[in-house]
């Protein structure tokens, strides 16, 4: 059933269109990574602060409160961009072990948030009243840090798995140029 879904998804008008250009996929992927660069720092800031490793001068409450909206919007953008990447070759991802691992890790991250939302992420002021964050708060932060790094690494791993070409019904137009350089940036370096 999941396989049928991925085949249907990638055959929809939107994703057939996106797949038609060899620029779309790398541009969306780059934007996905830009989000990671812009908002990953806020996750590091939060987790390392709760762990007591860095930025201990700043109240936990201040960091949680001031970065919350940002992280939320960054995550939503990352998920949308990630879904666009997935849709372009959904069937191929269905066979990709690292993709499945990444999804499982994302679900674990969601569970981590749900479990500790009431006791850690919404209780910054209370944590600040203690000399150091209690064990359960540090556990939440350590898990978050580990899961985010594992998500980034499994994301990178996706690209290393050879797709089972004989089973696939669609693929992204390969390569940005064949023969003569034809990308816009190519002209900057073209000679003769």
């Amino acid at each position: 059933m999941l396989l049928t879904f991925t085949q249907w998804l990638q055959a929809t008008g939107l994703f057939s269109y996106l797949r038609g250009s060899s620029y779309t996929y790398p541009v969306v992927l780059a934007l996905h990574m830009v989000m990671f660069a812009f908002f990953g720092g806020l996750i590091l800031l939060t987790d390392l602060r709760i762990l007591g490793i860095a930025w201990t001068r700043y109240p936990i409450q201040e960091i949680l409160e001031k970065t919350r909206t940002f992280k939320k919007h960054g995550l939503i953008l990352m998920l949308i961009l990630g879904f666009l990447l997935f849709g372009c070759k959904a069937e191929e991802y269905y066979y990709n072990a690292f993709f499945k691992m990444k999804l499982a890790l994302l679900i674990l991250l969601g569970i981590n948030y749900l479990i500790f939302r009431g006791s850690v992420y919404n209780k910054g002021a209370e944590l600040d009243r203690m000399p150091t964050a209690p064990g359960y708060a540090k556990l939440a932060a350590a898990l978050s840090l580990f899961l985010w790094i594992a998500i980034a690494c499994s994301g990178r791993g996706i690209g290393y798995i050879e797709p089972p070409l004989e089973k696939l019904h669609a693929s992204v137009v390969p390569g940005l140029s064949t023969g003569q350089p034809s990308t816009p940036v190519a002209f900057l370096f073209r000679r003769g």
Binding site: G41, E62, I63, K66, F70, R156, G157, G159, G175, L176
Partner: protein, 153 residues
């Protein structure tokens, strides 16, 4: 033909593992730089002054940069021809130098001067755009199939 074998190429796992460290270094460097630049734009940790944020992130930024550049050099060494003949790689290096120089001149100076709210907006936007260009360059390295002709270099 050189007969020197790069030990990094002895295992298929070395490259992907190095890439993971490269990504972690990048999250630390650009991520902490983003905290300062967002503050210059009047966003994020607005209770703190930009100067204070610069002070508190600078060693994490530097550590991330060192990890990123060191692993980057190792990745480059695995197949130099594949990189220096690649336009995306050349552009990435150009933007990387610009982003680092800009960070340690304009961003550093602006943050130290504690501009009024929103006063460092332009500097923050330029800095983050430069870092975004570095990311774009990095992604496109793997998507370009044709390279520069070695005979024309």
């Amino acid at each position: 033909m050189l007969l020197i074998e790069n030990p990094l190429n002895s295992s298929e796992l070395v490259f992907p593992v190095l890439e993971c460290f490269h990504i972690v270094g990048f999250a630390f460097s650009v991520g902490t730089v983003a905290i300062v630049n967002f503050r210059l734009m009047g966003l994020g940790l607005t209770n703190e002054t930009p100067a204070q944020l610069w002070k508190d992130t600078q060693w994490w930024t530097l550590g991330g940069l060192i990890l990123m550049i060191f692993t980057g050099l190792l990745l480059f060494s695995s197949d130099p021809d594949n990189y220096y003949l690649n336009y995306a790689f050349l552009l990435k290096m150009l933007f990387l130098v610009l982003a680092i120089v800009y960070n340690y001149t304009a961003v550093r100076k602006t943050a130290a001067s504690n501009p009024p709210p929103g006063g460092g907006k332009t500097v923050g936007i330029i800095a983050m755009t430069l870092w975004a260009c570095v990311v774009f360059g990095g992604i496109f390295i793997g998507f370009l199939t044709s390279t520069l002709d070695i005979n024309h270099i």
